[in-house]
């Protein structure tokens, strides 16, 4: 538990912001060893028993370093570190080389928990590769950017630290509560310098003198600056993509863009893009985006957490539908379809209980797979949900608006309306849905905006 310094509320260890008041929570500092990378670094991993004689001391010869680079992940985050290359003592953990899962000294898959150590180590290892490229006194072999046809360093005194994962993204993997709706997964938006040449299509830095983007092939147009300040190359797409998913940060700024194939694109944890690969809340094959009849469809591939789309005005609700507001995952049930949990006697005796008195539905908060906890009964024609106002309140959830949404019954049907919430109301897609320009889509821990190109 982390106790909020502002409102004293207990927060789960993985929360970055207080659920009660939104204050950023201090986190335990990562172990730092006061050594600059020597030839070999013995490492004790957090998460392993430090008393164990078998604690692996990982020998990391210099020559191993190139294998740290994930060739499938051509990603670049141009970090604004114009003043100086990193000279900090290198955290010891950064030297852990987990080039692939088999070689990890811990198993990320055994207990389903991505251990803190594992994630941190994996992320730090990638970071170490990048750090080596810039801060190492030796010439660094093969930084991640070698996968690209150019050196993505601008000539503006920007010593690009090609951190394949930003600090924020590392946090992402440890922050399961996520952010539904903007709950803070990222520490900061990594912005490119004002005058960087960024591809207007995919946001990749385009070196001086290049007319086309080396990543997406888009023509570089000096007049139209990249729409997003973030330089990131999530995917290599040979042809201009007909649509893309744009990461929306909690502060509303745009992040990396992910181009969708003109045919179909399946994303999930198994996808090589770092946008998806590190998200433990994505199923290996999570969702497929495809074009049909000139429309973009999103299909749920039987994923655990599904695809949620922000509702615009009102959507019809059906028995069993799931929706999210703030940190809450709620299930709607039509009362007539709810099965009794108490068995009858079979002798004509009726089960005694509270009169139903016109109740028509239930909402449950889902706290584990198929596991409801709190349940609210829907009885009025309109039942309002909010942090403070309404029949159903979530006073502890700082991501729910004071008045957030309504569940309504009309003519024997049921509807969900957003009532001007800040963070929106998201309905889970059943099977598949048509996406429109500007739709906001939650996949795992990340929020994307759908950009359809004309």
């Amino acid at each position: 538990m982390i106790v909020c310094p502002n409102c004293s509320r207990d927060n789960e260890d993985h929360y970055k912001f207080c659920l009660g008041c939104g204050t950023e929570l201090a986190r335990a500092p990562r172990p730092v060893a006061p050594t600059v990378l020597p030839q070999a670094v013995p490492i004790k991993l957090p998460g392993l028993n430090p008393l164990s004689a078998h604690t692996p001391a990982i020998e990391l010869p210099r020559s191993v370093k190139p294998t740290l680079i994930d060739p499938s992940g051509p990603r670049i985050e141009a970090e604004p570190t114009p003043e100086t290359p990193r000279v900090d003592p290198t955290p010891a953990i950064e030297a852990v080389p987990p080039p692939d899962r088999d070689e990890l000294p811990f198993d990320m898959s055994t207990d389903g928990e991505v251990s803190h150590g594992a994630v941190a180590a994996a992320a730090a290892a990638l970071s170490a590769a990048a750090t080596a490229a810039t801060a190492s006194p030796e010439p660094a072999p093969a930084p991640a950017s070698d996968a690209l046809p150019f050196e993505p360093v601008t000539d503006e005194g920007l010593t690009a630290a090609h951190a394949p994962l930003t600090e924020a993204e590392r946090e992402t993997a440890e922050a399961p509560t996520a952010a539904a709706l903007g709950a803070a997964l990222y520490d900061a938006t990594v912005t490119a310098p004002e005058d960087a040449r960024l591809c207007s299509t995919c946001g990749t830095p385009v070196p001086e003198g290049f007319k086309f983007c080396g990543v997406c092939g888009g023509r570089y147009d000096a007049r139209s600056r990249a729409p997003a300040a973030v330089a990131s190359v999530p995917v290599v797409e040979a042809a201009p993509a007909p649509a893309q998913l744009v990461v929306i940060h909690p502060d509303g700024t745009e992040g990396a863009k992910f181009s969708l194939s003109p045919t179909e694109t399946t994303v999930g944890r198994a996808h090589p893009s770092p946008l998806f690969a590190d998200d433990p809340f994505l199923s290996p094959r999570h969702a497929t985006f495809y074009f049909g009849k000139n429309q973009l469809f999103a299909r749920d591939e039987g994923s655990l957490n599904g695809i949620f789309i922000r509702i615009k005005a009102e959507v019809e609700l059906f028995h069993g539908d799931l929706f999210r507001i703030g940190q809450q995952l709620l299930r709607f049930e039509e009362l007539a379809q709810v099965r009794p949990v108490l068995p009858g006697a079979g002798d004509g005796t009726m089960v005694m209980g509270s009169p139903v008195r016109g109740a028509w539905g239930r909402l449950s908060s889902v706290v584990a797979i198929n596991t409801p906890a709190s349940v609210w009964v829907l009885r009025k024609v309109e039942e309002a949900l909010g942090r403070e106002r309404g029949e159903i309140t979530f006073p502890d959830d700082g991501f729910v608006s004071g008045s957030h949404c309504k569940v309504v019954t009309r003519d024997g049907r049921f509807f969900l309306q957003d009532t001007g919430s800040t963070n929106g109301t998201y309905l889970r897609v059943k099977a598949e849905a048509i996406l429109s320009q500007g739709d906001l889509v939650l996949l795992g821990q990340q929020l994307f905006r759908v950009d359809l190109k004309p």
Binding site: G112, F281, S283, L329, R339, P340, D347, G353, V375
Partner: protein, 261 residues
Amino acid sequence: MAMVDCPSCGAQVPVEHRFCGRCGHPMKPSAPASAAVQTAFFGAMQSVGKAKLILIRGEGMDGVSYHLNAAEHIAGRKSGAILFPEDNYLSPRHANFFYDEGRLYVRDEGALNGVFIRLKEPAVLEDGDVFLAGEELFRIELREIVGETTSADHTHFFASPRPAAAGRVVQVFEGGRTGIVHSPRDGAVTIGREQCNLNFPNDRFISGRHCRVDLSATTATVTDMQSRNGTYVRVKGQRELAHGDYLFVGRQLLRVEITAT
């Protein structure tokens, strides 16, 4: 038209009718019911240590009395001396009122809905126990909610935050569906018509502030807040009855009168 009460179900039956039009119970042909009741009443007064159950009808009026003069008396929908054939919340054989060493007990005969007794003082309930407030029936749940948070392919489930406390109060609808499930943050739940944690504005039998439940890890304490109609807990097994106890047997509310000791 002169009416008498059916001795079985309490329905109003015209004096000249030979059977109760509601339950079919044979009516005594001539003697006015009130006289019969009075006669029996005085008879009961004479039998030391014997008790009777008085059926409470709408607005708190006394109805039929059931004199408990034998060793045991079965209440039920189909059999027994205390018969409520029209109350579907009674099991065919529901409860037994019996004496043991001169004391009156009620025993649940394995009834589906059981026998509820009005609280005179706070009661300590366990996981699965039920109680009544007004027309609302609640179950106490103290077990922690268990559920997988990771799927077989190691995907983490994106779930609502868990309630701060493990214990919860669960409303049970007639027919056995679950209604409200409330997990109080501080372990205390007030129940009533208004300004409580759980409000039932349309329940005519619930008081403004009716009762409260204090949940701990292993027990729940139910306290009646001087409600007009009282808070009732289900009798587990058997229980000794005292003068002035109120019982719900199905929909029937009975008052216990123990004549003398």
